[in-house]
Subunit: 208 residues, 2 copies
């Protein structure tokens, strides 16, 4: 399991000839890093007198960030799994007509899974950006750069995951699925870019 | 050592009340992920007939990406170390005039180190973006989304590291140092944004 590997070993495996883990798993990892940075910022805020008026709100953000961090971390492994399923489907036999139909269906199914995982990463990382938005102004100002880092990681996660959505959609035959997830993922990316720009500017102002 | 921790344990420690590792170490990790993604793309290209004309160029990119990946991975630990040195400097005694002077000098020195580490992360991640640029069109097109993910990770690395440069510069007294690294880091960020936009657009075109 990827999450049990040391960072050193994960990086080695990432750089190797094996195509998985690749950009999709890294997209989920960027999101997980972002969510855990929000948790840290909340933990550096709770219990401090200066922020007592935001105590319950920050507790709420912490709970959401923890859940998000776990969900995104799970998708690091999941993205590699669905990639391997696609590869396996391509190795199915296709000697008879029945086998050819079965193989096509298996490929189509695996590609849909391989699209839905990075799509989920995008949805979760957009939630992460919204949490950054909520946290600014209510959390420890000494850690405001960490909120900015969290936002940068969510944005990288969305941008990477989007490419993984597109590359899988390209191979799919189901036109409705392709059209639906093409539109929805482009929309998530657009919303995220606006949110990220706003958050990063607020962080820059907060630092000065 | 952070690189020896499992990803799971790293994320746990990142989310904890302890301020290190924080956004600075994550910035270096994003860059390391980016560099290792380039290595993977090169490894998926070398030896393939279709790309034989780029063989020596891609070998060169692979060597640079490997070196970059190692340098950035080392800075994951280094950023946490320099953060802790700043914290230690703030706990030095300041009862006598001599002690106060010594403490001020120690803080100043530690803050400079804590600025130079994320500044190095920025320089290295910009090198990474340039490697993505070189690799596009010469590497396995099946892995083009991974080059885009690499670029997204370098950009997140630069954006995060920049915030860490700024937050340390803010506390420094040496006006020349503050002015020099303020300007140089802003310049790196600007160059990177242009490079990243160009690369990401090329990747989108390459996927379609």
């Amino acid at each position: 399991m990827l999450l049990e590997k040391s960072i050193y070993d994960f990086l080695e495996e990432l750089g190797s000839k094996s195509p998985a883990p690749g950009g999709g798993s890294v997209a989920a990892l960027s999101g997980a890093n972002g969510a855990h940075l929000i948790s840290m910022v909340c933990n550096l805020t709770l219990g401090k007198k200066k922020y007592v008026e935001y105590e319950s709100e920050v507790s709420g953000i912490l709970e959401k960030a923890k859940k998000l961090g776990n969900q995104l971390a799970e998708l690091v492994q999941r993205d590699t799994d669905v990639f391997l399923s696609v590869r396996d489907a391509f190795t199915l036999p296709n000697d008879s007509m029945d086998e050819r139909i079965e193989k096509q269906e298996a490929i189509e199914e695996a590609l849909k899974d391989a699209t839905l995982v990075p799509f989920s990463v995008m949805e979760l990382s957009l939630e992460g950006l919204n949490l950054c938005d909520e946290a600014i102004g209510k959390t420890n100002t000494n850690a405001i750069s960490d909120l900015g880092s969290a936002a940068a990681n969510f944005e990288a996660s969305l941008k990477s995951a989007y490419l993984n959505v597109l590359i899988n959609l390209k191979e799919l035959s189901d036109k409705n699925f392709v059209s639906e997830y093409g539109m929805r993922s482009a929309e998530l990316l657009k919303i995220s870019e606006e949110a990220y720009d706003r958050i990063y500017k607020q962080v820059l102002i907060g630092i000065q």
